[in-house]
Structures are given as structure tokens and as C-alpha cells.
């Protein structure tokens, strides 16, 4: 059974139906453990697709099902609970909370989900160690390099053991060395069974990390290819 399934999904931002839709009758499926790179030029619908998977947006038509949950019927609170349970997100600009330490940023999803502090701290420490940033646990994000910040963001995304890891241009704000480093980390995570959806312009990153690529153009799936 697919972990992500789009059936005839369309999303249009222009309420007057003028102009092309952001997504136009997209049907696709992603299996558990896959690493899929969504490629395409600006305005092709990549971010819309990612937002739909994350439950941050809703389709105008069609159904989006993730981990067996039909996202179309979720209200805001249910969407939030869905994200906590099934989704980890990594952003281009990290989106770390600057007034929280690294450790506080990482444990945040667990605490929002009502997890015990001690248990969340143990999981956080393990993740930071795995990702090689444990010595920065008490530091604030502003003191870290871009690559280190993205590792913190990845640790935070993994905190609640998500079924799907969504990465939106995860190396877009990093220098090439840090970008390669993050790409390698994502590949390792996928190798351990983590489902990964990667939205990027970066063909080389897609080639390194993804087991399959989906190319979007004008809101439609133009091509799909397994690596």
C-alpha cells in the first residue's frame, strides 16, 4: 500500500479560475521507504505538492492520502495532529526558532505532541549524537553554520519518528560542502527506511538522494523516472 497517494488532485490559487492551476489533475503514488525527488522550474507546482502532503493546504479536487489518512477531510487541529504523527519537515531556510537552543528546538514537536520531557530529551540527545551536533545542544541557532542548522532542522523533523520526511530545497541555502553533507545524511536516512520526499531545483542532489524523480511542469506530472 502506497504511503502517499494523489488521485486527480488539482489546486488553483486564483479564485476566478483565470490562469493555470498550481496543480492540475495530478495522480501519483509513493511507496514506503522510497526517496522521491520532485523537480521542476519555479511555478511548476512543487511547493504546492509538498504543502498538500504536509496538510498545510487542501486540494480543490481529488484526494490526497498519506499513511492511510485522507487529508481532505481534516480540519486545522486534525491537520496539526496529523503532521505531528506522520510528517517531518525540513525547510530551505531551516525555520529554527532563534530564541530556543538547539535542544529546545529539537524536542519541540515531541512536547507539542504531549510526550514526557525526559523521554523527549533522551530521543533528542540520541538524534543530535547521530547527526553529529550533540556538542551544540545548548547553543542557539544563530551561533551555528548553515550546515549545522540544517542538521538541527533534520533532527527536529525526525523527533516524532515521522512516516514521511519532507524536504523543501534542503540544500538551497547552504554552501556546496554543507549541501553535500546534508545530501549524504538524507541518503543515509532513506537507506535506514525513512520515506523521503525531496523538492529541489538541484538535479545533482536529486541524483544523489532519490530513488525516483517526478518532474512537474505547469502543475502537471511531466515525467517520472526510477533511478
Amino acid at each position: 500500500m502506497s504511503i502517499i497517494e494523489f488521485r486527480g488532485v488539482s489546486r488553483r490559487y486564483d479564485e476566478n479560475d483565470a490562469g493555470p492551476p498550481a496543480l492540475d489533475d495530478v495522480t501519483l503514488a509513493i511507496e514506503p521507504g522510497e526517496a522521491v525527488a520532485v523537480l521542476g522550474p519555479s511555478g511548476s507546482g512543487k511547493s504546492t505538492l509538498l504543502n498538500l502532503v504536509a496538510g498545510l493546504d487542501r486540494p480543490d479536487s481529488g484526494t490526497v492520502t498519506v499513511a492511510g489518512v485522507d487529508l481532505g477531510g481534516l480540519n486545522e487541529a486534525a491537520s496539526a495532529r496529523y503532521r505531528r504523527a506522520h510528517i517531518g519537515m525540513i525547510f530551505q531556510f531551516f525555520h529554527l526558532l532563534d530564541d530556543l537552543t538547539v535542544a529546545e528546538n529539537v524536542v519541540l514537536p515531541a512536547l507539542l505532541a504531549g510526550q514526557q520531557r525526559a523521554e523527549a530529551r533522551r530521543r533528542c540527545a540520541a538524534l543530535l549524537e547521530t547527526l553529529g551536533i550533540d556538542r551544540h545542544a545548548a547553543a542557539y541557532p544563530s551561533k551555528l553554520s548553515g550546515g549545522q542548522r540544517q542538521r538541527v532542522a533534520i533532527a527536529r523533523a525526525l523527533m516524532n519518528k515521522p512516516a514521511v520526511l519532507l524536504a523543501d530545497e534542503p540544500t538551497g541555502a547552504l554552501d556546496s560542502a554543507s549541501g553535500e553533507d546534508v545530501g549524504k545524511l538524507l541518503t543515509e536516512l532513506n537507506a535506514e527506511g525513512q520515506t523521503l520526499v525531496l523538492v529541489t531545483h538541484d538535479e545533482s542532489l536529486a541524483a544523489r538522494c532519490a530513488t525516483r524523480t517526478i518532474r512537474l511542469a505547469d502543475g502537471r506530472v511531466q515525467a517520472e523516472a526510477a533511478r
Partner: protein, 768 residues
């Protein structure tokens, strides 16, 4: 359109929340300031204002209608009105029963010459079957005069008020003949104004009338100075109360506008950075922000002035009830000063704030727009995170510390708001106690002579006490009761008459408040109000000697009682104290409290039947319910609500700014799984500490201010206030007031909390 104009319009339109808040803050502040200013104006010599606006009579004289045909000429007179025909008749009204005898004056219209009577409700009589009253019956009521031939009836068409107190009711002159007792001639009222209306001028004028008219022509005269002194004494207790509210309104208005506009400028720093980056000069930046603030402020000012008027009209009507003067119109200069003041305040605050932002380096301004200094508030955030509460709560608790200046401003707003509410509630409660104590007539049933109703004790002409006692005690439902006999007396060294009131039993339960000592217990003991104690130089524990019918009556003063009646020139004692000086003294009035479950109407009817042979009548006592108290309660409620709204608006503004700044963080939290309810919790928690601290600081501040103000109010009126007036903050009231700060803070934060809950995550994440 110039580049600057586009920036101003776009800024106002795009930052809708900020624009609306500036408009709303100005609206509330101007409304509050118009109200506050109007109250201050209305409270500055209310009698003088009313007297001037009505072109009041310096001297009104009542002449015997059978002995004079003209208007006596007097020295120093600048204007006369009259003669007006005057009759005194006791009407009956259904429902309601008998009214006291009314002085009815025949005047063709209210608003000409001297004493331009104000019609406060309804209209002036237009036909012989109509009457306008100062008080006593509602519009539309029909009054009949059973003692007159044909029992003429008049419909009450208006409520009117004369500051010169020239009449209790007015009819057209054509209606007077039907209201005149057969065989008599209506008396004549003449009103005078003088160039120099001093006491001696007026005394000389009255003497001149006596000297130049046949003996007995002058039936009475009334000096405006006597009325003014009485009015000033009556209002002395209320003026500081209303002035305090007026000042609170003005201060809150200034704080509100200043805080909101300065906050808006701070929030616009990033935008100012962008403008500078694309080539705007600092002067253009200031003009741009000024325009952005002035557009909503001007709209808010216009709407606030209109709303201020709409609210001030009934408010000033209530005020005129309190002051017993003609309703005062809103002075136009209050509008002008408030509107100009609000716009100047906006201009100054916006200019200073924009200049500050404009002086920042462009790069700093740009970064300031995106982030707050993350170093600030970190310790608080770390400490908050350790609190064993849900994470959304601890996230919110730490937020305000990132902006210490804003937190201080928000705290000041809540402290001021809570203090204002505590003070307002305390003042309202104190005034309520004062009014009840002033009336000291809380008994359920009043018994007095049958026929026209009379207020308070009347000269000693009642039936034998033992017969009344027998009838009252035999009546089922009788609780505590007492009779009051009154006899005029004098006290050495005190000018004028001192009312000696003899009680048949303990009356301390009827609303009397002691300021010192205790209630009298046995003959020879008495209690005295502050003014008489002061005038006679007597102290509690000392002896005061009354002279009644030429006999000395020594009274040991065992207490000081709060009373403003008869200017406080009263002595309260037992009937037994006064009997040696006047053995036939009998109570003419009685007051009865009912046993539990007794019905006032049924009891009154039954007792009246029993007392009728004695010439007495029982009625449910209305004296304890005061129009003044109702008006003051309405004023307190309205003004307190305004103060709370303004304080909450200040919090709203700052909470909106805080939430806007945190929009990206909010987006991240939501992306990580924060539910809308948790987002609401974060925003509400961010004002939690401020609300609690504000309540904890503001309530004692308000209570302390009350403790300073109330005695000052008493001093101004020359009265020692009872402890009950000062000690109004019951534990339950404090328990309500202290969380009041939290309520104000939560009220202000609700809107941004709702906005945070509805915020679209994807949109928030794009906010960088």
C-alpha cells in the same frame, strides 16, 4: 500620485490590522476624552453654569396677590420678569396617591426673560389641561385636584428644571384660575436680576419691597446666594467623584494613543528600512509614517467625537440629575481641544517614533523588521521552558521578555487599567454608601399624616404615641420600628435653627452611619453630625446644650453621625431627652421595618386602615431609593466599561504587534504540529504574567488612591466620612479585582489569539 502618497496609502491599506488599531485607539481615546472633558466642564461650578445658562433670578419674591398690582422698583436692578401668578395646591395622582403641595406658576413659555426653565423631558404645556413638573410624576400621568371645584385634572406633559427653584410645576397662565381656591387670589411671583447681586444688595432689595408696599405684601423672597450655597454643599461630595472619572478618561486617552502609535512605528521599522534602502530621505520616511498614522487617526477622531457626543448627552443628563441643575450641553471647545489634542498627540508620537526609526542604519532597520533581538529574553525563555506546564504555555510565558520596552508599556497599561477600575468601583461603592447614609431612611414602611405626602419628619403634631404603638404592634408583620418627633432648637454660638430629632426607639438600623462613637442608648445622650460639632466646637464625649422653648436641654454627645440634611445642623436623641422641654411633643412620622416574608403593599394597606382614625397613613417607603444613586451607578458603570475597553485596546495593540512579529515562529510551530488551540494558548499565555502582575500592582494602587481621594472629598464637603464609606473593598471585591488585570490582558489578547489560530501555516512560513 507621488511616490510618498502611494507609500502612505499602501502602508495604511496593507497593514490593515495596525491601521484599524490606530483608528480604534484614537476612536476610543477621543470618545473617552470628550466624555472626560465634558464631565470636567460640567463639574466646574455646576450651579453657576446652570444658573448662567438659565439666566437665573438673583432674587425671586412672592407677593400677596390681593395687595399688589405691579412690580416694585428696586435699586440696582438690571432686569425683571413677571409678575407670574402662583398657586399652591396638593394634587392627587393615580396611581401614586397624594403628592405634597406644589407651588404652581403660570408662565406662557419657559425660555424667555429671567429663569429660562429647562425642559429636560417632554415639552412645555400648550393648553390649560397640561402641566410640567420638576419631579414627582411620570410623563402622561394625570393629576387631579380634589380640593378644587370640579376637581380639575391636568396631564403631565413635561419635566422641567429651574436652577432658581422658582416653582415645582408650571402651567400656562390661563390654567391658573381653575387651580385657584375659590375666594382667594393667586399670589404673584417677580424675578429680578441685579448688576451687583451681593448679599447686602439683595437684603436691601427685600427690605425696600417691605418698606414700599402695604404691610404683609411680601410673602417671601429667595436669594440666589442661598440656593448657590445649598447647591454647592449638595454637590461638593459628587464633584471630586466626577472630576476623578473625567481625569481618568483623559489620562487613559493619552496613554492609549501614545502607546498604540509608538508601537506601530516600532513595528514599521522594517518597512522604514526598505523605504530608506530604495532612496527615501529621513524626512520623507517621517512624512510617510505620519500620513500612515494620521489617516486612521483622523477617521477615529471624527467617529470618536460623534460617539463621545452620543454617550455624553445621556451622561450629562445623569450628571445634571446628580447636581440637580439644568442639563449642560457639550461645550464645543471640548470637541475642538480633544480633536486637536488627539491629532497633535498622534503627530508628535509618530514623528518621534519615525525619527528614531529613520535614524537607524538602513541595514539595521531592515533586520529589525524581520527579527527581534534574540539575545533579549533568552533567560526568561529558558526559565519558562523549565516550568512544568504544557509547552505552548511556557512558550507564551517567555515571549514578552524579548521586548522589555513593550512589556513595560503593556504592564503599565494593565496596571493603569486595573487601578482605574479598582478606583472606579471603590468610588462607586463609596458614593453608594454615602448616598444611603445621607438619606438614612431605609425602613420598608413610612407612616405619616394622611393627605398630601410629606418628606421627612414634620412639626410635632402627631397623634398620641400610645395609640400609634398599639396599632403598630398589633399589626402582623411588624419588625423594628420607631417614631420621630422634631422640634426647632438653638445652640449657643451656632447661628440659625438646629433641628432636634427625638426618636422613640433605636433607629440605628435605618441606614445611619456613625463616623465616631456610638448610637445613643438612654435619655440625655445624643449624636450629632460633623458640621454641628464643628460649628459648636463640641467633641464626642462632650456636652451640647440645646435651647428649646426657652429651656435648656443638655445632651451628652456619644457619637458623630454622618448626615448632610439641614446642612448637618441636627441633633439626634431619644424622645425622652426632649420631653422635659416640650412635654406635648409627639412623633409625626414613623418608620417600620417588616418581619421576614411580610408584603409591603399589603402591610401598608392594613396598617393604614388601623391608623386612619389617628389621621395617619402608611406607605411603602421610597425615600431610600435615590435618583442620584441610580445616576451615579449608571455613570460608574459606563465610565468603568470605557476604562476597561481602553486598557484592553492598549493590550490588543501590543499583542497584535507581538503576534505579527512572531508570525514566522508561529508558522514553524504549526508546521511542527501545533494545533489552533495550542496557538491560542501561546498568545494568551504571553499576556498571562503581565495580566497577573498588572492586577497585583494595579488593584492596591487603585485602593490606595481611593484611600487618599475619599477623605479629600469629605474634607472638601466639610464632612467626616464614616468608615463604611472608606472601607468598601470587601475581600470578595478584592478577589474579583485582582484577577481583573488578567481579564483586561486576556480580553486584549483574544483577537490576536484568534488570528494566530486561523493563520495559514504556508503563508506564515513565507514570512521571512
Amino acid at each position: 500620485m507621488s511616490g510618498l502618497g502611494r507609500v502612505v496609502r499602501a502602508g495604511a491599506a496593507r497593514r490593515r490590522v495596525q491601521t484599524v488599531i490606530i483608528g480604534l485607539a484614537t476612536f476610543m481615546a477621543v470618545t473617552s476624552a470628550v466624555l472626560g472633558g465634558s464631565l470636567l466642564v460640567a463639574s466646574t461650578g455646576p450651579f453657576d453654569d446652570s444658573f448662567t445658562s438659565q439666566h437665573g433670578a438673583h432674587l425671586s419674591v412672592l407677593l400677596d396677590g390681593t395687595k399688589t398690582a405691579g412690580t416694585p422698583n428696586l435699586a440696582g436692578v438690571t432686569e425683571t420678569s413677571g409678575p407670574f401668578p402662583v398657586v399652591v395646591q396638593a394634587p392627587h395622582i393615580d396611581p401614586g396617591g397624594s403628592l405634597p403641595p406644589l407651588t404652581i406658576v403660570g408662565r406662557p413659555q419657559p425660555g424667555t426673560g429671567i429663569d429660562r426653565v429647562s425642559v429636560v423631558e417632554g415639552r412645555w404645556p400648550s393648553g390649560p389641561g397640561e402641566i410640567a413638573l420638576a419631579e414627582g410624576a411620570p410623563l402622561g400621568a394625570v393629576m387631579t385636584f380634589p380640593a378644587l371645584p370640579g376637581k380639575p385634572s391636568l396631564t403631565v406633559v413635561g419635566r422641567a428644571r429651574s436652577t432658581s427653584q422658582t416653582a415645582a410645576a408650571w402651567v400656562l397662565p390661563a390654567a391658573i384660575p381653575a387651580l385657584t381656591t375659590p375666594g382667594t387670589t393667586p399670589n404673584t411671583q417677580i424675578l429680578y436680576r441685579f448688576g451687583a447681586p451681593t448679599s447686602s444688595t439683595l437684603d436691601e432689595a427685600a427690605a425696600a419691597i417691605t418698606a414700599t408696599t402695604p404691610p404683609g405684601t411680601l410673602l417671601g423672597s429667595q436669594s440666589w446666594l442661598v440656593l448657590k450655597a445649598a447647591a454647592d454643599r449638595n454637590t461638593a461630595l459628587f464633584v471630586p467623584f466626577l472630576v476623578a472619572f473625567g481625569l481618568l478618561g483623559l489620562v487613559m486617552a493619552v496613554l492609549s494613543i501614545g502607546g498604540v502609535v509608538a508601537g506601530a512605528a516600532g513595528a514599521a521599522t522594517g518597512r522604514i528600512g526598505v523605504l530608506k534602502a530604495i532612496g527615501y530621505t529621513p524626512a520623507q520616511v517621517v512624512r510617510g509614517f505620519l500620513g500612515q498614522a494620521l489617516i486612521p487617526a483622523a477617521i477615529g477622531t471624527a467617529l470618536g467625537t460623534a460617539a463621545g457626543h452620543a454617550i455624553a448627552i445621556p451622561l450629562l443628563q445623569s450628571t445634571s440629575e446628580v447636581y440637580e441643575t439644568a442639563p449642560v450641553a457639550i461645550t464645543s471647545w471640548v470637541d475642538v481641544i480633544v480633536a486637536a489634542g488627539a491629532l497633535v498627540l498622534v503627530t508628535l508620537t509618530a514623528t518621534v517614533a519615525a525619527l528614531r526609526a529613520g535614524r537607524l542604519r538602513t541595514v539595521d532597520a531592515l533586520s529589525a523588521g524581520r527579527t527581534t533581538s534574540r539575545d533579549r529574553g533568552r533567560t526568561a525563555a529558558v526559565l519558562a521552558a523549565r516550568v512544568p506546564l504544557p509547552r505552548p504555555v511556557t512558550l507564551g510565558l517567555g515571549q514578552p521578555f524579548a521586548r522589555p520596552g513593550r512589556m513595560a508599556a503593556m504592564l503599565a497599561t494593565v496596571v493603569f487599567g486595573t487601578a482605574a477600575v479598582a478606583l472606579a468601583v471603590g468610588l462607586g461603592a463609596s458614593i453608594s454608601v454615602i448616598e444611603k447614609a445621607r438619606l438614612h431612611d431605609s425602613a420598608a414602611i413610612a407612616v405619616g399624616p394622611s393627605g398630601p405626602r410629606r418628606q421627612g419628619p414634620s412639626p410635632a403634631d402627631g397623634p398620641p404615641l400610645d395609640q400609634v404603638t398599639q396599632a403598630v404592634t398589633a399589626q402582623a408583620g411588624t419588625g423594628a420600628w420607631y417614631g420621630i418627633a422634631e422640634v426647632p432648637s438653638t445652640v449657643a454660638g451656632v447661628p440659625g435653627v438646629v433641628e432636634a430629632l427625638g426618636f422613640t426607639a433605636d433607629a440605628s438600623w435605618a441606614g445611619y452611619e456613625m463616623t465616631a462613637g456610638r448610637w445613643f442608648r438612654e435619655p440625655g445622650e445624643g449624636i450629632v453630625p460633623t458640621p454641628l460639632l464643628t460649628a459648636s466646637g463640641t467633641k464626642v464625649g462632650g456636652t451640647m446644650t440645646l435651647t428649646i422653648n426657652g429651656r435648656s436641654v443638655p445632651i451628652r454627645v456619644v457619637g458623630e453621625v454622618f448626615s448632610t440634611r439641614h446642612d448637618g445642623m441636627q441633633v439626634f436623641t431619644s424622645l425622652g431627652t426632649l420631653l422635659p422641654a416640650q412635654p406635648d411633643l409627639r412623633p409625626s412620622e414613623y418608620r417600620i421595618d417588616l418581619a421576614a416574608g411580610a408584603d409591603r403593599e399589603a402591610y401598608s394597606a392594613a396598617l393604614t386602615t388601623a391608623l386612619k382614625p389617628l389621621g395617619l397613613e402608611a406607605r411603602p417607603n421610597q425615600a431610600g431609593s435615590s435618583e442620584v444613586l441610580l445616576a451615579l451607578n449608571a455613570l460608574t458603570g459606563l465610565l468603568t466599561a470605557m476604562l476597561v475597553a481602553i486598557a484592553a485596546l492598549g493590550v490588543l495593540n501590543m499583542a497584535v504587534l507581538q503576534t505579527h512579529e512572531r508570525v514566522r515562529d508561529l508558522g514553524i510551530h504549526k508546521a511542527l504540529g501545533m494545533t489552533p488551540r495550542q496557538a491560542v494558548t501561546v498568545v494568551l499565555s504571553s499576556v498571562l504574567l503581565i495580566g497577573l502582575a498588572g492586577g497585583a500592582l494595579g488593584t492596591p494602587a487603585g485602593v490606595a488612591l481611593h484611600g487618599v481621594m475619599m477623605p479629600a472629598m469629605g474634607d472638601q464637603a466639610g464632612i467626616t466620612l464614616p468608615v463604611a464609606v472608606l472601607d468598601v473593598y470587601e475581600p470578595w471585591l478584592l478577589a474579583l479585582l485582582i484577577p481583573g488585570g488578567l481579564a483586561i490582558a486576556i480580553l486584549g489578547a483574544l483577537l490576536p489569539a484568534g488570528w494566530a489560530a486561523r493563520l495559514r501555516t504556508a503563508t506564515a512560513l513565507r514570512t521571512e
